[in-house]
């Protein structure tokens, strides 16, 4: 049998000093989830520039079509590259903590759920830092 756990209202950030590792994991998972779903809508909007591009046109052949020029134009902006690093960090944390949550739901490793949260943070940090050279290539 499982028991429900009353977290109170998480939005009462005034009591943040009382938050445990599991509470922080829940808040970060929720925050990164909001960012990812918001990005999903933005991503589809940007990729919509592919609609109407004629695959056989000269513009596609020389890479000046609307889709290619939009994506490459965005990639020339340094702020976009930094936002991509941020997006990777958000996605990696959501994936790592998501794996942790699947194990929690299966009842596996409950006693070390705080340690697995810290591991999620460390792995997210390591993968994000390691990816920075790739993400910033060509603009710095």
């Amino acid at each position: 049998m499982s028991q429900s756990y009353d977290r109170g209202t998480v939005e009462s950030f005034g009591r943040w000093r009382e938050f445990s590792a599991g509470m922080w994991a829940w808040i970060f998972h929720k925050l990164t989830g909001w960012i990812l779903v918001g990005y999903l809508f933005t991503h589809i909007a940007v990729l919509s520039t592919a609609i109407g591009v004629d695959p056989g046109s000269a513009a596609v052949a020389d890479g000046t079509d609307f889709y290619t020029s939009t994506l490459q134009g965005l990639e020339e902006l340094l702020i976009v590259r930094f936002l991509e690093v941020g997006l990777l960090a958000v996605a990696v944390f959501h994936i790592m903590n998501g794996i942790r949550l699947l194990f929690v739901d299966l009842g596996i490793g409950l006693t070390s759920q705080d340690k697995s949260f810290y591991a999620s943070l460390v792995l997210t940090g390591a993968i994000t830092v390691a990816s920075i050279p790739t993400f910033l290539a060509g603009v710095l």
Binding site: V10, L36, I44, I51, V60, G63, E84, D105, T134
Partner: protein, 121 residues
């Protein structure tokens, strides 16, 4: 006795689908990032390159499944977060309706994008 920390109502089809899509998305999102930022650098993406990738039935099917599962997982996640914050009654029904419409719109537009990118259509 084990406590579980899920904010979802266990035993519902949405609870189950949220986890099934999560398992798929772990692989799909990681693959998407590696494919479009490390194997192919985002700054080098062209319509011709995108079209070549989307011409493969396996890649196209993966991207379409990615779209639908991500839309469900995200929209359902937002709904659960709002319900968890205390959404009730008519407001809850209105938010559910808006989110369903937004999710369908996202999938329709994403499908239009996928078709525009693929030489199969």
């Amino acid at each position: 006795m084990a406590e579980h920390y899920s904010s979802f109502n266990r035993g519902t089809w949405r609870w189950f689908l949220q986890r099934v899509t999560a398992v798929f998305l772990i692989g799909a999102l990681a693959f998407h990032f590696v494919m479009l930022h490390f194997v192919n650098h985002a700054a080098s993406i062209t319509f011709a390159g995108t079209e070549a990738r989307m011409g493969g039935i396996l890649y196209f099917t993966l991207m379409m499944t990615f779209l639908v599962t991500a839309a469900f997982h995200g929209i359902n996640g937002v709904y659960n977060a709002l319900v968890n914050m205390g959404l009730k009654g008519t407001q809850k029904k209105a938010v559910a309706a808006i989110l369903v419409v937004a999710g369908i719109a996202l999938i329709v537009q994403g499908t239009r994008v996928a078709i525009a990118m693929s030489p199969m259509f």
